[in-house]
Amino acid sequence: MINSYRPTTVEEALQLIHQKRCHIFAGGTDLMIRKRQWQGAERKFTQPVVFINGIDSLKNIEETDTHYIIGALVTQTEMAESHLPEYIRVPYAQMSHPAIRNIATVGGNIVNAASVADSIPILLALDAEVTLQSVEGERTIPLGAFILGKYKTVRKDNELLTYIHIPKKNYNAYYYKKIGQRKASILSKVSVFIVHHKLDEIAITIGAVNPMVIRSVQLEKQFIKDHSIPDLIQGFKAILSGVNDKRSTKDYRETVAINMIKTYLEGVINEL
């Protein structure tokens, strides 16, 4: 018999996860599937389960002069219907389908760290940081340093991801497209997110190709200087390492990612 708990404050949750190694359960749209057995059977959890969805203090979107601060339990629907900039709202509105967005959380998608997680390319391009809290203290680190690989993060067993900090930027244009077998309710084969201010500032991420989201600040800087699409594409080609799996092939993923970036940026340059 696995024990399960339903804390209603962060402090209570931190005490629980400090004592034992636990599954931390937020919206559950991934865990309910990963831990299932046969029809009618209860989910198969091998560690105590801490259900954190009763912690209301993590359900708010706040802002300071410099940042948007998103509580880990804010849902994807709340993100899509918030007052955040369009380049954040629109990608969230395209994740999964309405009923899943009503329960799937921002924090859950990050901590889960699936290689196909749709929120990670967005948050990574926006230089988001995450706050991890434990009974021993707290740390805030860049999202890029938080995720180590597919389903792997630097989160320690006694740490809870509590907030996501998104810096406010003066981006005035963005491109977001994800490719899947159908438009909704599907895991991406490949996704591209580009956010920029003219061509003075730009961030480009490619999701679902490599085990981790691809972003190269170095290529972005070079592109701002020389506006050379061929060089940018060459640079990306060198770091793409897609795989063949049940959803798609390496060739398809890489070709489509490159084509999306190329087509969009050619359009931007033509309009300058």
Partner: protein, 156 residues
């Protein structure tokens, strides 16, 4: 353990684990079988219910996340005027064949009108993207929604 929540307007208390699915509690403990199990992975929408007025897949909700919440199933929703109009539109358009997806589909249509007064075809497709139907080919369901739009159906 004891879990309290509100089901179809009545305060209820059940003996259950936190990890049990809301779907199983609704069907087994309360014998409300209008809520169906389809894919069991949040893709098909056969198990949709309203939880605190939000459309959710009850196969994705462990009882821990239903504590204190107000859950409305198709049995209770079917008593409302809002439902009757959707039912009429579905019947007139031939939007029901085997009927397995219908409870979820009807609830998703209601939620769609919460967001849009007169949803366009694109918005209808997006709003019903979490509901799979293997009989109708969807066309008749889209027509039913178009009929509701024409009648000036409003979320209340």
């Amino acid at each position: 353990m004891k879990i309290d929540f509100i089901l179809n307007g009545n305060a209820v208390s059940i003996e259950s684990t936190y990890t049990r699915r809301l779907l199983d509690v609704i069907r087994e403990d309360f014998d409300l079988t209008g809520t169906k199990e389809g894919c069991a992975e949040g893709e098909c929408g056969a198990c949709l219910v309203f939880m605190d007025d939000l459309l959710v897949n009850s196969c994705m909700v462990p009882m821990a996340n239903a504590v204190g919440k107000s859950v409305v199933t198709i049995e209770s929703f079917a008593q409302t005027e809002a439902y009757k109009s959707i039912e009429n539109a579905f019947m007139s358009s031939g939007a029901v064949q085997c009927g397995y997806c219908t409870p979820g589909m009807v609830m998703a249509v209601y939620e769609l009108f919460k967001k849009y007064d007169a949803p366009t075809l694109q918005q209808v497709k997006e709003g019903l993207s979490g509901n799979l139907c293997r009989c109708t080919g969807y066309q008749m369901i889209f027509e039913a929604v178009a009929m509701l739009v024409k009648e000036g159906y409003r979320y209340d």
